[in-house]
Symmetry: D2
Amino acid sequence: MLDDDLRLTARAANPVGTVVEVRGVRIGGREVVIIAGPCAVESENQMLSAALAVKAGGASMLRGGAYKPRTSPYSFRGLALEGLRLLALARAETGLPVVTEVMDARHLPAVADVADVLQIGSRNMQNFTLLEEVGRSGMPVLLKRGMSATLSEYLQAAEYIMAAGNAELILCERGIRTFEPSTRNTLDLSAVPMLHRETHLPVLVDPSHGTGHAWMVPTLASAAVAAGADGLLVEVHCDPSSALSDGVNSLTPDVFAGMVEQVRRVAAAVGRAIL
Amino acid sequence: MLDDDLRLTARAANPVGTVVEVRGVRIGGREVVIIAGPCAVESENQMLSAALAVKAGGASMLRGGAYKPRTSPYSFRGLALEGLRLLALARAETGLPVVTEVMDARHLPAVADVADVLQIGSRNMQNFTLLEEVGRSGMPVLLKRGMSATLSEYLQAAEYIMAAGNAELILCERGIRTFEPSTRNTLDLSAVPMLHRETHLPVLVDPSHGTGHAWMVPTLASAAVAAGADGLLVEVHCDPSSALSDGVNSLTPDVFAGMVEQVRRVAAAVGRAIL
Amino acid sequence: MLDDDLRLTARAANPVGTVVEVRGVRIGGREVVIIAGPCAVESENQMLSAALAVKAGGASMLRGGAYKPRTSPYSFRGLALEGLRLLALARAETGLPVVTEVMDARHLPAVADVADVLQIGSRNMQNFTLLEEVGRSGMPVLLKRGMSATLSEYLQAAEYIMAAGNAELILCERGIRTFEPSTRNTLDLSAVPMLHRETHLPVLVDPSHGTGHAWMVPTLASAAVAAGADGLLVEVHCDPSSALSDGVNSLTPDVFAGMVEQVRRVAAAVGRAIL
Amino acid sequence: MLDDDLRLTARAANPVGTVVEVRGVRIGGREVVIIAGPCAVESENQMLSAALAVKAGGASMLRGGAYKPRTSPYSFRGLALEGLRLLALARAETGLPVVTEVMDARHLPAVADVADVLQIGSRNMQNFTLLEEVGRSGMPVLLKRGMSATLSEYLQAAEYIMAAGNAELILCERGIRTFEPSTRNTLDLSAVPMLHRETHLPVLVDPSHGTGHAWMVPTLASAAVAAGADGLLVEVHCDPSSALSDGVNSLTPDVFAGMVEQVRRVAAAVGRAIL
């Protein structure tokens, strides 16, 4: 066992497995859920075109960042409240539920007003007061694995959220930091079966941040589903070369749609289906 | 590009891709090759029963170590010449070509006498004089990625073998060393598409060493094939609990046969087949 | 150069080097500053006895956590406001300026009321909104390196604080995450000269978290000073075996005093002195 | 304890500590030994000038590679037998004992004919048959830590040499592989006290390979001695910019001599002396 003090997140606490339901989309069941959209919300046109494209391509949820954690203070850091407004608009147009990141407890009321799922990013995996706040919110939470978090530490971070009273929790492997320089991170797909064994929570995979190369995303998306992922988090942009962040990771709508078709076949091969 | 001084191993040197043929088994073509057998050759009975079992289960090549690199000098280190004799016997019984490790250039004549494919283990990935010897042998070589080798260093090691005149070369991702303690290594499946892009050589995956957990091997084997692996290297033992090495990694024949069935479906889903 | 977009933290922005002055204690000058105290404030008696002991042993600043980031939600997480009160008391008794961690922007007014230096812990190195808040506070800040932060990422995090208008900034190497299991982290002492070359900010070393073994702390403290550290951050507890956190890291007052004597000799050998 | 099956290398097997004596130079005693010279032997003039320079600067042993493990087959790989001849010449001129690497058991007779200490490089730390050969040789051996070897694995590799009957064994920390890109490796100075606690063998540090930056070598050399290193292995070249390998690591004779003076002061500060 990864840790003997996992009281709420341990598999034994809910042997049949948790299904998180978001506006009718079930995460953690037989269906594999595809969540897609741009890294950052950049403009109304960019957000709506991406949202329509990912819906057409087979996504059942929408992602997009209004608040962006960026390594440098001089990078584009998101549209904040205006970004949230555009996410709400994109949901209204497409009907897709929205996943978006909250970086600061003080932004939580505004983000919670729009988001269907609150994302906690890798850099905040051990921002413990934020974990408790999203725990208390009672809203569905997508907690990404920290860049150098062991699986034990990851589940202990999840335990903070559940200990605050929130069982609507989704995990996401997004690549870990290693010595290999040719990929942005090293996607740790063995984390998927290990987490499924140790916890009852659904486990997604983010091949976009996990690899840092758009051309590699469909292949790793297939591998993730073969490894048992309950869903994928994928960056899509209608014009990746003009994206204000993570353009090199982002699929065009066409490539995304092709990816979904391939992933659908892999899902069937392992007894799953794409939602 | 990973490295601009890859003259012989670079994709551009053979854009259509290399197929290595071993007694009629083609590695690097449309078919995914399954190579299975015990970690170490332990006895005639153990080796023959494992060989028959993996053949029945769907393997098209046989693996087994007569010379075993072991972290501690006090561990079982293989049967050496007697192990080679038993591998030859297993091939005679099953018709399966044999992959076995050579750890020392001085053992090469004896190993080459029996092996159909010479394996260079992770710990010897940068044993440059050994690379040149197996290069000069002209025999098919399976070169495993070093535990902390970047892909650039890995291809430069492969370049040693090709520069010595040997194009019958197969690569194998087997997990890299990271901070995560719950798996023996971290299987780097993004290495598969990256190597396919950068080199024309076939790429196998070893989920047994890559994870260190037998229960996880079938899942990661599926993921590896979804990631485009040209084959799998899998440890199988008829009685894992009595194995003299790597029992915790080893599948029983039943689990192995089930794994092959699942991998067959995944291979079909990505346009491949199991040989 | 580590990064070409370091505008305020780059060495070129202040070639003579920054000295941060805290109630008369100068950090970044010729003198090496020793900051010591317990991991967590646990009680009035524990805090005062530790404060008096580190002062007697040669410390010129006091450390102690009122808010403790802990991997598990079920661990002791600090006395919060009561801890801050005890830190103020310890300062009043000893005259030593106080370094204490702020984990959440909402705690900042209360922490700033007591702290002389605001510490940002490793887990919050990329908590960008918190970085900006402590930047705007104008108070001296001690920013610890993240567990898997490259030096480039570290300086970009420092840049957030300076870009918010705060030049009273101190860095601290505290060990990075690697594959080696025998130490809690791997103390990266080459970071000290590299940071001194790339930035004008003072650089401390924390051998307590960096190694996770009290017995090893004096040796690595000496090595850190030989590597050019501008100061040390050391955990001291009058009864380590009863400490509520990090007892295994903590020096007794006697060992601490002996460490200071040894470090004093090493400082002299490299042209520095202990403050 | 790092490992409970260390029979011969464990501290308990020789609590007073091992001193390896090489032509009168004692490694592992109170004196810190400085071993210096070029990465590779390139020519008579280069080798002799470097040898005389390091002797003048304070070295008590000479290093230089006749057989060079190189990542790429197209790099300069050493002068082989001619390199050995030049090493013998340099010893004759200076009286300094010679440390040189053996990469292949088949080279051992020739290398042993010249070397006073046989070096096993990082890439061969788990070349087990080579470990046994140098073990059987009975000659002093300097075994470098592998790039991603845990200290437990490192001591088990040392155990191979001692189990073959050779107690004349010296260890050397030379940097480990991590995610940090600004240094070639991350020098793990906590390995020095950990090894001293766990084994009776002398422990050197190689700051040249450990950092990959000549300008950083003197600082890390000082830190290594403060950490308790029994000696240093340093690359020196009379004209680093023309070196056929590792020029960026190599000190000029002047910088080397200055380094020795600084290291001498640090050694005194921790109760040691430079031999």
